[in-house]
């Protein structure tokens, strides 16, 4: 029996992984489009706490209170994957962590004559990212269009 299948080894490896995650706060561990377990990763990495977890018709919402005062919500589909994240508060959460592979779409939005510092609406492939507000009160959300469970009202994702 190969040593790699030993449960002891798995536990040790998991322990090492957790330790690495703790030491490297920005180790890749995506949220949007990833399994619900990454919600816990978000919480651990951000030194945050889950304020509430609520089952709504067709999906589940975890509300995460960040130390910065910002509240983040992560929306989980019946298949167990996060299909939307939303935030509201004085500053944005770690969106590199929360958006995972989709982070780059926000980071590369171009400035144009019609830009101000109060609005962002990005639609790139499957991703929709929308944000508004002003200094000291920012809000926004990002979701994957193809992953929204049937019957979910977009207006409820905030």
């Amino acid at each position: 029996m190969p040593i790699f299948q030993s449960n002891d080894f798995k536990s040790a490896a998991l322990g090492v992984a957790v330790l690495i995650a703790a030491l490297l706060p920005h180790v890749a561990s995506a949220t949007l489009g990833e399994p619900e377990t990454t919600v816990q990763t978000d919480v651990a990495l951000a030194h945050a706490s889950i304020k509430s977890s609520e089952d709504r018709t067709g999906y589940r919402v975890h509300e995460i209170q960040l130390p910065s005062g910002t509240v983040m919500r992560e929306f989980v589909a019946p298949n167990g994957n996060v299909f939307a994240v939303a935030w509201q508060g004085p500053t944005r959460p770690d969106l590199r962590q929360a958006l995972g592979q989709y982070f780059g779409a926000f980071a590369s939005a171009p400035r144009s004559k019609f830009s101000d510092r109060r609005h962002v609406q990005i639609q790139q492939g499957d991703l929709v990212l929308q944000s508004g507000g002003h200094m000291r009160a920012l809000s926004g959300r990002a979701y994957l269009q193809s992953a929204i469970p049937s019957g979910v009202n977009l207006g409820d994702l905030h």
Binding site: S112, D116, Q121
Partner: protein, 414 residues
């Protein structure tokens, strides 16, 4: 007409009075030692809505002024910088390092390290150190004020906590769209509690930068609150603009409320705002509780799925024009704004024009009173009434705690 004439006469009388008062300061106007003359501050800066600095990609409905900064204590190491955006929705003076020719001293924390900030705007972030400068705007001065130097070449290692907040890095004139920004919102600083809590805003930098708390006196303030006089708020005065728009619209930025003859409160509507500088807007049968009036928003933004949005032109398929409204004909819509004090506006309406038609008809225009755009349902509860609100109005923004003849700040009055 009568009232207008009376107003003008009253204004004349005030000006004449103040001229006499100044003229009499040589001591000839009465017995005994005359009181010192009132500080003869020119408290009014001119403002303009134009296309922005040449190094930018242009702008619409964006208000600019000029600011003079000096190395603290110096009267010769000074620089006047144009195209500083006037923003009632943020706090603090921030300058783009590429246009700054002075070397301003960077603040140092007692715990060691230089102080830098990751300023978050909705569409991105700006990174740079906090330096101190003497500031002069019109005749108003503030000494040794913390300001941010955005894109400073001495601070190029942006912490991952900063870039991780996402959006565009706005550290050049081109990406920022201005040579700087003058945040004159109704609070004293850009952070409510950064003296006791970290928010990913302020960083202590040595070889690397880490999130830090900051004593209040080192944080970036609304610089108006640091003026020697006229420091309790500002008044933005802009002319009416034709429905189709205009270019190079000029107005005034008056400092102080009820501190001089030219900034007296009258009979305006006073709406107090909450801890987020927000108030209520009733529109289309709904109440939007997280609404705000904001010179830094370049249109009127709200959700109304019944209004047609613009279609991107084939020449620019990714144009952000798609986030603006393009109704077939101009709409006039009623809206009510309510302060936290319960006071409501009366008979207020706004126009929504066809954004593409307006922009195409007059490509050289940069002020559009009927430019309106969408706000996604995800920002439910918000009506963002931007610079078009200010056209044809005299809008006072009283800083938190300011006591004027018509109320106590934070409030907005017009």
């Amino acid at each position: 007409m009568v009232s207008m004439r009376a107003l003008k006469m009253g204004l004349c009388a005030l000006l004449c009075l103040s001229a006499i008062a100044c003229g009499g300061s040589d001591g000839t106007s009465g017995g005994g030692t005359p009181p010192p003359p009132p500080a003869n501050t020119a408290n009014t800066a001119s403002v303009i809505i134009d296309g922005g600095p040449s190094a930018s990609s242009g702008s619409v409905n964006t208000l600019f002024t000029s600011v003079t900064v000096c190395v603290p204590g110096s009267t010769t190491s000074c620089q006047t910088i144009d195209h500083i955006q006037v923003d009632t929705g943020s706090y603090g003076l921030r300058l783009l390092a590429p246009v700054l020719t002075l070397t301003l001293p960077v603040e140092t924390l007692a715990s060691g390290g230089s102080l830098a900030e990751c300023t978050q705007f909705v569409d991105g972030f700006s990174w740079g150190p906090i330096a101190t400068a003497d500031i002069q705007i019109a005749g108003e001065t503030a000494k040794s004020v913390p300001v941010q130097v955005i894109g400073d070449s001495r601070f190029t290692n942006i912490p991952t906590e900063c870039s991780g907040t996402g959006g565009t890095e706005e550290d050049t004139v081109s990406t920022f769209g201005a040579n700087g920004i003058l945040g004159i919102g109704p609070f004293e600083s850009d952070c409510g509690d950064c003296d006791t809590a970290t928010h990913g805003l302020y960083f202590a930098c040595t070889t690397s930068c880490t999130d830090t708390t900051v004593p209040d006196n080192l944080q970036i303030p609304n610089p108006v609150t640091h003026f020697a006089v006229d420091n309790n708020g500002t008044i933005v005065v802009l002319p009416s603009v034709a429905a189709g728009g205009a270019s190079n619209v000029m107005g005034s930025l008056i400092f102080g409320i009820d501190t001089q003859s030219d900034n007296a409160s009258g009979t305006q509507t006073v709406l107090t705002v909450d801890d987020n500088a927000e108030l209520l807007v009733m529109f289309n049968g709904q109440t939007f509780a997280n609404s705000f009036i904001d010179s830094g928003s370049n249109g009127i933004f709200f959700a109304d799925s019944s209004i047609t949005t613009c279609t991107a032109p084939p020449s620019d398929p990714t144009s952000q024009i798609v986030n603006f409204y393009c109704p077939a004909s101009t709409l006039t819509l009623p809206v009510t704004i309510q302060g936290m004090n319960g006071t409501m506006t009366n008979n207020l309406t706004f126009g929504v024009g066809n954004a593409i038609t307006m922009l195409n008809d007059n490509p050289s225009f940069d002020a559009f009173p009927q430019l309106a755009g969408t706000l996604p349902a995800g920002n439910a509860g918000s009506f963002d009434y931007g610079l078009p609100f200010f056209y044809g109005k005299r809008v006072a923004i009283a800083v938190q705690g300011a006591m004027t003849t018509v109320g106590t700040g934070p409030y907005i009055a017009f």
